[in-house]
């Protein structure tokens, strides 16, 4: 089995952060805040967050904030829950949540909850359980979960449960591992995991492991490193992670690395990107690969960051 080329990945991430005119940067311009979360969380998991100037990042993040309190994907971009979550997560990484006007962010998020408990991603109204997760995770980090109707939010998520025990983006939609992560994560954070048939869902999730050892997101789709996060974290949250073959999955993730130039791709020998680099490293962290910080499966942040949020500074 290969090894995790941690130093190469650090170099790769730092180079992407700097090259603002590269193809990848241009393509990612509208979701740079998501990219910041993926890149910086990976650096932290590799123990190298200090290679970045936190003041520069924090100042840039605040410039992404809209007058409504929400955050856009980049400076001057319209606000959306997806970027608002990334902003709060990155500030949490740097222990700089105190720069926020928590009331403003809270007001932005709670205004996006609909009558049926669902959440719209922004003022244009698109509904998706991903946005339920973004809202709940964000407010939990800010300790303002009580500002939304949690019961209705949970009820909406449960209405998106499918016959095979998984969850879709809306009621009736197909089970999809990414949506499952969002729903299970939201239910975990709100203490509502009892709504899940863990045995049924656990089986559906462990059936995502294909011959190569990688995981797909739905039946008969190709394995992709990002599902190493979404399927794995879901399995951990419902205590069923021992149902997959961990060794084979580790090997698959390691095979997706570009060990020369750094970065991880969706499957072996494809082009790398920041998104898959994060999910590969985070997946390995969940699999307790040596040399990586532990990751919280619900908050998708290092465990010590989550502990700091909820329990203050720990002596560990």
């Amino acid at each position: 089995m290969g090894e995790l080329a941690g130093d190469k990945h650090v170099k790769y991430i730092l180079s992407v952060e700097k090259k603002k005119d590269s193809f990848e940067s241009v393509v990612m311009e509208h979701l740079r805040l998501n990219g910041a979360y993926w890149g910086l969380t990976t650096l932290d998991l590799l123990g190298k967050l200090d290679t970045v100037d936190s003041n520069e990042v924090v100042s840039w993040i605040l410039q992404c904030q809209h007058e409504s309190g929400g955050f856009g994907g980049n400076i001057g971009h319209d606000p959306h829950l997806l970027y608002t979550l990334s902003a709060v997560q990155v500030l949490a990484l740097f222990d700089k949540l105190d720069v926020l006007d928590v009331n403003k962010v809270t007001d932005y998020i709670r205004a996006l909850q609909n009558e049926d408990g669902s959440f719209s991603g922004d003022i244009w109204g698109e509904v998706d359980t991903r946005f339920s997760y973004c809202a709940i995770c964000c407010l939990a980090i800010l300790k303002r979960l009580d500002s939304i109707n949690v019961e209705k939010a949970v009820r909406y998520i449960v209405s998106c449960k499918t016959l095979d025990g998984g969850f879709g983006c809306t009621p009736g939609a197909e089970s999809h591992a990414g949506q499952i992560f969002c729903c299970v994560g939201a239910l975990a954070i709100t203490g509502s995991l009892h709504h899940i048939d863990k045995d049924l869902l656990g089986w559906w999730l462990c059936e995502r492991q294909v011959k190569s050892g990688g995981l797909n997101g739905r039946p008969e789709k190709l394995a992709d490193v990002c599902y190493s996060w979404w399927v794995l974290s879901s399995l951990i949250m419902i205590d069923r992670v021992h149902w997959i073959d961990k060794e084979k999955l580790i090997k698959f993730i390691l095979d997706c690395q570009d060990t020369e130039n750094g970065g991880i791709s969706d499957r072996p020998n494809d082009a790398v990107d920041i998104f898959h680099t994060y999910f590969g490293v985070a997946g390995l962290s969940l699999l307790e690969y040596p040399g990586l910080k532990a990751t919280d499966p619900a908050y998708a942040l290092p465990v010590d960051v989550v502990n700091r949020i909820f329990f203050g500074r720990c002596s560990t």
Binding site: M28, H30, T170, E174, S175, D199, P219, E220, I244, F275
Partner: protein, 221 residues
Amino acid sequence: MDGRRIVKVRRLHHRRWVAEKLGPDAASRELEFTRKIFFLDAKNYHAWSHRQWVLQALGGWEDELDYCAQLLEEDVFNNSAWNQRYFVITKSPFLGGLKAMRDSEVDYAIEAIDANPENESPWRYLWLNDSRVHSACLRVLKAKRNFKFALSTLLDLLGLGFKPNQEIKDAITSLRTSDSGEAGSDSDLANSICSILAREDPMRANYWTWRSSKLPQAAEV
């Protein structure tokens, strides 16, 4: 949540906003739009979500089951199309709901299973309380290939109190490699199934071992 997906989704949602203003006339145009996407990518997740929204908000249910059948003819492994079948069966105002359609849908799923027993989707589409399901499982076991889902379905059935006939018991026994005596009670049979599955599907060995620990104990007479 990667970049390409987010961009596609925003465009889809803007279409929704426009379609809502235009009313039911927009239904066929929106359905055609998603059809074009499926021509290139028949499992596109957000296009399916958009199509479901169109049907519920604007109508156009009449041809939907036929459309699902067409997609499944092109690729019987398309899980999105199987999901859409269930969506149509349960929600279409023209089909009479689950009760009315159950019979024909079981036939449809079993036909798919007979053609490709390794296809996960139709197995998950089945309603277990049906003798046609037992026969389908038996056919797959007898063929001795791709019998994983047939075995796990029988395991589910045993858990629901199903009493397999001798033919099914023999078919299971013939798949065992070790000769540890005849499978007697149901719990022996269920244990046999679990050990065969752990052997055939070693990646999920822990799951199948757990299943055997969950088996109801053989009733004391």
